[in-house]
C-alpha cells in the first residue's frame, strides 16, 4: 500500500505545483498550460472510457465541441449581442436555440447535459444491440463527419468554417485581462482535480471493477448476470459530459472554436494522448495530454518546418517501444526495483502493482 500512498502524494504534489503556476509563469505561458489542462480533463474522460471500460471512441471531438460552442455562444451574446456573421448571412432575428444560451447557467448546464444525454441515447441504442468494438468506433467517426458537415453547412447559424470568435468579456470582466485569465486557469485546475477525484472514485468502486471486467471479457461478465450495456451507456455518457466541460474551459482560454477543432483528426489526437500517457491509469491521460501538447508546441516553435516529423516519430516510437505508455514504463521500473529489494517475482509484483487503479 505504500505505493498507492506515494502515488497519491505525487498527484497531490502535481496539483499543488499547478495551483502555484500563476505566480511563476508569464501570462502567455500560463494560458498555454491552461489549454493543456483543459485537454487533460478531456483525456481523463477518454481514459476512463477506453482504459477502464475498453470502449474506443474516436468521436469525442463533437462532445468537446458542443461544450466549446455552448460557451462561445454565451460569450458572444453577452459581449456583443447578435453575432455579426448572422447579419451578413441574412438572419435578422436571433434564433431560439441561440437565445437560450444568453443565460450563463443554462449555457453551462447544457454544455455538459446535452453531450451526456446525446451519448446516453446513442449508447443505449448501440450497446443494447451489442454493437461494440470496432463497429462502435466506426460509428463514432461517422458521427463526427455528420456533425462537422452540419455545422459548416449551417453557416448562417453557426459561423461555418470560421467558427465563433471575437468575444471579449465574461460576467462583465474583460476576458483578456491577466486577472481573469488567472481565475480561469485556477478554475481549470480545480475542475481537473474534481474530475480526477470523481474518476478515481469511479474506477475504484464496484462499478469500476465491473467496467474492467467488461473490458477484459464482456461476454463472461454478461453471463455472470451483469447488464453490461447499462454500464457502458453510463460510462460513455459520463465521458461525454467530461468532454463538454473540457470544451467550455478550453474556449475560455483560446477564444475561438471552429468545426476543424472538433473534426476527425483532433478526435484521434485525443485518444493518442491517452495512449502515450498510459491506458488503464488516471495519471497517464493527464501526463499524456500535457506532455504531447507541450512537446508539440515546443517542437513546432523550435523547428517550424520539420516539427511534424519529430512528433510522428515520437508517436511511432512510443507505440512500438512503450505500448503501455509513459505510466507503463514507470510501473515496470518500479516493479523491477521493488522485486530487487524484496526478491519477489517481478511479474507477480507488476500485477499486484497494476491492480491499484490511479
Amino acid at each position: 500500500m505504500s505505493y498507492l500512498y506515494s502515488k497519491k502524494t505525487l498527484v497531490i504534489l502535481g496539483f499543488v505545483i499547478l495551483l502555484i503556476m500563476p505566480f511563476v509563469l508569464a501570462p502567455f505561458n500560463l494560458n498555454l498550460l491552461g489549454r493543456f489542462l483543459a485537454y487533460a480533463i478531456l483525456a481523463l474522460g477518454i481514459g476512463v472510457l477506453w482504459g477502464y471500460a475498453g470502449i474506443l471512441s474516436l468521436g469525442h471531438g463533437i462532445f468537446f465541441g458542443f461544450g466549446a460552442y455552448a460557451m462561445a455562444m454565451y460569450l458572444t451574446l453577452q459581449s456583443g449581442g447578435m453575432p455579426d456573421f448572422m447579419g451578413w448571412n441574412g438572419i435578422t432575428e436571433l434564433p431560439w436555440f441561440w437565445a437560450i444560451f444568453s443565460n450563463p447557467i443554462v449555457a453551462i448546464v447544457l454544455a455538459i447535459a446535452v453531450p451526456m444525454l446525446f451519448a446516453g441515447i446513442l449508447g443505449f441504442f448501440t450497446f443494447r444491440n451489442r454493437i461494440t468494438g470496432v463497429y462502435f468506433t466506426i460509428l463514432t467517426q461517422a458521427l463526427v463527419i455528420v456533425v462537422t458537415t452540419l455545422i459548416i453547412s449551417q453557416q448562417q447559424y453557426t459561423g461555418g468554417t470560421n467558427g465563433i470568435t471575437g468575444f471579449d468579456t465574461i460576467f462583465g470582466y474583460s476576458l483578456n485581462s491577466v486577472t481573469t485569465q488567472q481565475m480561469i486557469y485556477w478554475t481549470t485546475v480545480i475542475f481537473l482535480g474534481l474530475v480526477f477525484l470523481i474518476c478515481y472514485k469511479l474506477v475504484n468502486s464496484r462499478f469500476g471493477k465491473v467496467l474492467i471486467a467488461i473490458r477484459d471479457g464482456e461476454n463472461r461478465t454478461r453471463f455472470l448476470g451483469y447488464n453490461t450495456s447499462i454500464y457502458q451507456v453510463i460510462v460513455y455518457s459520463f465521458s461525454a459530459g467530461v468532454a463538454g466541460l473540457a470544451g467550455m474551459l478550453f474556449v475560455l482560454q483560446v477564444g475561438i472554436i471552429t468545426p476543424s477543432m472538433m473534426g476527425i483528426v483532433p478526435s484521434i489526437e485525443m485518444v493518442l494522448w491517452v495512449a502515450i500517457g498510459g491506458r488503464g491509469t488516471l495519471i497517464g491521460p493527464v501526463i499524456g495530454a500535457l506532455l504531447t501538447n507541450g512537446a508539440s508546441t515546443w517542437f513546432s516553435q523550435t523547428y517550424p518546418d520539420a516539427w511534424l516529423f519529430f512528433i510522428g516519430l515520437v508517436f511511432v516510437l512510443v507505440v512500438v517501444f512503450m505500448p503501455k505508455g509513459i505510466m507503463g514504463i514507470i510501473s515496470t521500473i518500479q516493479a523491477r526495483r521493488r522485486a530487487k529489494k524484496y526478491g519477489k517475482d517481478r511479474k507477480e509484483e507488476a500485477k499486484l502493482y497494476n491492480s491499484s487503479s490511479i
Partner: protein, 425 residues
C-alpha cells in the same frame, strides 16, 4: 525509493514547464508582471517600448501554415514575404534598422494560429505580423491583435464583411474580384450561372453576393452546389451541369478539389467551348497541379498574374525565380504578400516608429508601385485599392489578360455602394 519517485515528478514537471516556456529564452520578462498582478495595459506598453529601445533590428512575425493541408499554398506566400524583407534589408532596412523575421507555423489549425500570434506579440514584441490565409485563421488571430494592439497584414482575397483596425487587408475585397467578374461574364458570356464551391465560408458568402447581383442584373442561378473540402468525385455534379446547361460555372472550389473537378469535366467531354468556368481560387500555382491542358480557355479573376505587364513585375518575377528556383511561379496571393511588406515599411518610415497607432495613422493613403500596378491603402477600411483583371488560361499554364478595370478599384468590403447588396450587409 521515495527519492526516485520525487525525481520522476520533478523531471516530468520540469519537462512540461520547459515545453510551455518554449521559445522564451528570456522568460524573465513576464515573471514579475504576473506575480505583481499588473494589468494588461502596462504589459503592452512595455512591449511597444521595447521595440523602440531595441538597438538596430525590428522583429516581425511570419505566421503561416508550414504543415497541414494549407502548407502547400502558404509556404509560397511566406517565401514572398521573405523576399520582400531581404530586399528592404539590402536597401538599408526600415528606419535604418534591419528587419528580423521570426517564422512560426500555424499548422493549418486555428488555435495554433491564435496561440502563435500571442506568442509573437507578447514574447517577441514583433512590430507586425505578416500571415494567415484562410478566413478561419485570420479570425483566430483577429482578437489577439486587437487585444494586444498589434498589426496583421493579410495577403489573400476573401469574402469581405470585415474591417478590424488592427488588420490590413491586402487581398481583394468582393468588389475587387467577384462583383466585376460576374459583371464581365454577364456582359460577355451569358446569363445562366451554375455556382460550385467548397463547403466553407468564402464560397457560401461569395455565392450569396453573386445571387443578389444576378437578381439585379436579370441573370439566373440554375443550381448551387457545395462539396466538402478535399472532395474528389465530381461525376454527380457534372451530370447536374449537363442537365442544367449553364452558360457559366462560377467556381469557388479550393485546393485539390479543383484537380478532380477540371479533369473529370474534361473526361466527360465538356470543354471551354461548351461552358465557361471562371475560378476565383485558381492561380498559376494551382494550374501546375491541375494541368494547363484541361484548363485552357477557362477564366480566372484576380488582381495580378505572372504575365501582368509592368516593369515592377518583370523585376519581381525574376527576383522570385532567382531566389527560389526557375520552376517556381508567382501568383496573386504571392504578389500581395510581397507588396504588403513594402506598404508596412513605408508606413513605418512615414510614422518614424513601429508603434501601432502611429503606423496605422501614417498608413492611410500610402501608395506603392506593386507588380500588379499602383496600390494604395484606403484609410477608412484598411483595404487596398487594386486593379481588377480577368485572365484566360493559356496552354503554357500562364494567363492572358482579357479585361482589366483600367484603374485601381476602391475597396468596398461591405458592398455599401451597391444597392442590390442591401440584404447581405
Amino acid at each position: 525509493m521515495k527519492k526516485y519517485k520525487w525525481g520522476i515528478a520533478l523531471f516530468s514537471s520540469a519537462f512540461i514547464l520547459s515545453a510551455c516556456a518554449a521559445g522564451d529564452e528570456a522568460a524573465d520578462t513576464g515573471f514579475g508582471e504576473a506575480s505583481a498582478g499588473e494589468d494588461e495595459q502596462s504589459d503592452s506598453e512595455e512591449n511597444s517600448e521595447e521595440v523602440v529601445v531595441d538597438e538596430d533590428s525590428i522583429p516581425v512575425g511570419l505566421l503561416h501554415s508550414l504543415s497541414g493541408t494549407m502548407a502547400i499554398s502558404e509556404t509560397s506566400v511566406r517565401d514572398a514575404v521573405m523576399l520582400a524583407i531581404d530586399e528592404i534589408n539590402e536597401d538599408g532596412g526600415v528606419l535604418g534598422k534591419e528587419i528580423v523575421p521570426i517564422v512560426e507555423d500555424g499548422a493549418s489549425d486555428e488555435p495554433v494560429f491564435s496561440e502563435r500570434a500571442s506568442k509573437l506579440l507578447q514574447q517577441d514584441d514583433v512590430a507586425a505580423i505578416f500571415g494567415t490565409w484562410t478566413s478561419a485563421s485570420r479570425q483566430a488571430v483577429l482578437p489577439v491583435v486587437e487585444e494586444h494592439n498589434g498589426l496583421l497584414f493579410y495577403p489573400v482575397q476573401y469574402e469581405g464583411m470585415e474591417s478590424s483596425p488592427n488588420i490590413f487587408y491586402n487581398g481583394a475585397a468582393p468588389n475587387q474580384q467577384i462583383v466585376p467578374a460576374v459583371e464581365w461574364l454577364f456582359d460577355n458570356v451569358g446569363d445562366s450561372f451554375f455556382l460550385l464551391g467548397s463547403d466553407y465560408v468564402f464560397p457560401r458568402t461569395a455565392n450569396q453576393i453573386i445571387q443578389a447581383q444576378l437578381d439585379d442584373l436579370g441573370g439566373e442561378v440554375v443550381r448551387e452546389e457545395y462539396t466538402p473540402m478535399g472532395h474528389t468525385d465530381y461525376n454527380t455534379i457534372i451530370s447536374h451541369i449537363r442537365d442544367t446547361e449553364p452558360d457559366v460555372i462560377f467556381n469557388t472550389l479550393n485546393g485539390d478539389s479543383n484537380v478532380a473537378f477540371f479533369n473529370q469535366l474534361a473526361d466527360a467531354g465538356i470543354t471551354s467551348d461548351d461552358v465557361t468556368v471562371l475560378s476565383v481560387s485558381v492561380a498559376e500555382e494551382e494550374i501546375r497541379g491541375i494541368g494547363a491542358e484541361v484548363l485552357e480557355g477557362h477564366y480566372a479573376s484576380w488582381n495580378y498574374y505572372q504575365t501582368t505587364d509592368t516593369p515592377e513585375n518583370d523585376t519581381f518575377v525574376s527576383n522570385f525565380k532567382e531566389a527560389y528556383g526557375e520552376d517556381r511561379v508567382t501568383g496573386d496571393p504571392i504578389e500581395a504578400a510581397y507588396f504588403m511588406v513594402y506598404l508596412w515599411a513605408q508606413a513605418v518610415e512615414e510614422a518614424g516608429t513601429t508603434e501601432t497607432d502611429a503606423v496605422r495613422e501614417a498608413a492611410s493613403g500610402i501608395t506603392f508601385d506593386a507588380p500588379n500596378g499602383p496600390v494604395e491603402i484606403d484609410g477608412d477600411n484598411q483595404h487596398v485599392y487594386k486593379t481588377v483583371r480577368i485572365g484566360e488560361v493559356q496552354g503554357d499554364g500562364q494567363f492572358e489578360e482579357v479585361w482589366n478595370s483600367g484603374e485601381p478599384v476602391k475597396p468596398d468590403p461591405y458592398l455599401e455602394t451597391y444597392d442590390w447588396a442591401e440584404a447581405i450587409q
